[in-house]
Amino acid sequence: MSIKNVVMLGFFLFGLVIAMVPENTTKPYKLTAEDMLVEVQSAAEMVNADEVAHWIISKDPTLQLVDVRTPDKFQKYHLEGAVNVPLSVILSDEYRDILDQGVKMNVLYSNGTMNSHQAWMILRQLGFKNNYVLQGGLNYWFETIMNPEAPSIYSSDEEFARYDFRKAASGALGGGGAVTLTAPAKTEVDKPKIIRTKKKKAPAGGC
């Protein structure tokens, strides 16, 4: 057999093999430990309570609050428009459309920041984007947004402005005065429409 025929036969056989085998869709982890360290240190995943309050009040359609606490805690109290994705079942397929998408900005929260951060790290490791953590968690949220402390008379204008905003936000969000931890009247969670995103675009390189 001439070399030419061998090459032709090789093409054909390799083609046959590749046509028969299933496509490899498994992905190894997206981030190395070093990458993770850089991300964690940059703290780019944090969003502060004031920003979130502003988005809730202005009904920003790109905001998706994700409550990672247990369902009974979620029933007792949750932020407006939040969906409940308990940390223990975060890997279940049920929530994948919420957590792995490229349209909305997911803000994860728990009472403190530990559980929300744990959830964030898992999601980040899976390569999901657009997930953030509410700085300080719900505890800080109550301290600052729902029950803002009036600044002293020596405080800067900026602090007064922040206080005014928080005061107004707390009014708009049903806080102010003593915070009751009873469930709001509407217990039904309005599940936001999930917009299925198409496959992520590969980053443009050179050719």
Binding site: F11, G15, I18, V21, E23, P28, A202, P203, G205
Partner: protein, 197 residues
Amino acid sequence: MMGPLVPQEIIGADWNLFIAFVVGIGFGFILEQAGFSSSRKLAGVFYGYDTVVLKVFFGGAVTAMLGLLFFSLFGWIDLELVYINPTYLWPAIVGGIIMGVGFIAGGFCPGVSISAIAIGKIDGIVFLAGIFIGIFGFAEAYPLLEDFYMSGDMGSPKLNEMLGLSGGFFGFLVIIAALIMFWLGDLAEKKFPRKEY
């Protein structure tokens, strides 16, 4: 470690350029060694007396395709991250026709014209001058051509996805097509032989 190496910055931008430089020199050298710096050889594809160029490029494409598919199968490369030139349908068709006409008329494609210049061919130099006139003319006329240039944007589609086939199976079809092309090339060389060129 998983490829592609450059988009994931496993290989940095500077090394990227250096590697491109080395690969480019290798590419030019092999083009020249394969005799592609002769415009008669390139025009031969059109007239049918020499289809080596067709075979080499089709063979190269098929080899690279098989390599990528197998690398992906072994988990060595993430094909999602491989850059695909976006498709602008109508300008691509018109550009292809212009390129094809230039190919037959000039006897070179842009790459091999550089190879031809490297061995001192005057027709290669003339061809390159033509390329620069074309580039300059296009740049000057760009405001007039912009709407057309940007028309028919299809993003970066893959044929197998549009047809609903798996990458591997579509690859197999491409290989069959390539083998038919090789066979047709042989046939053409027998039908339109030319002794000296």
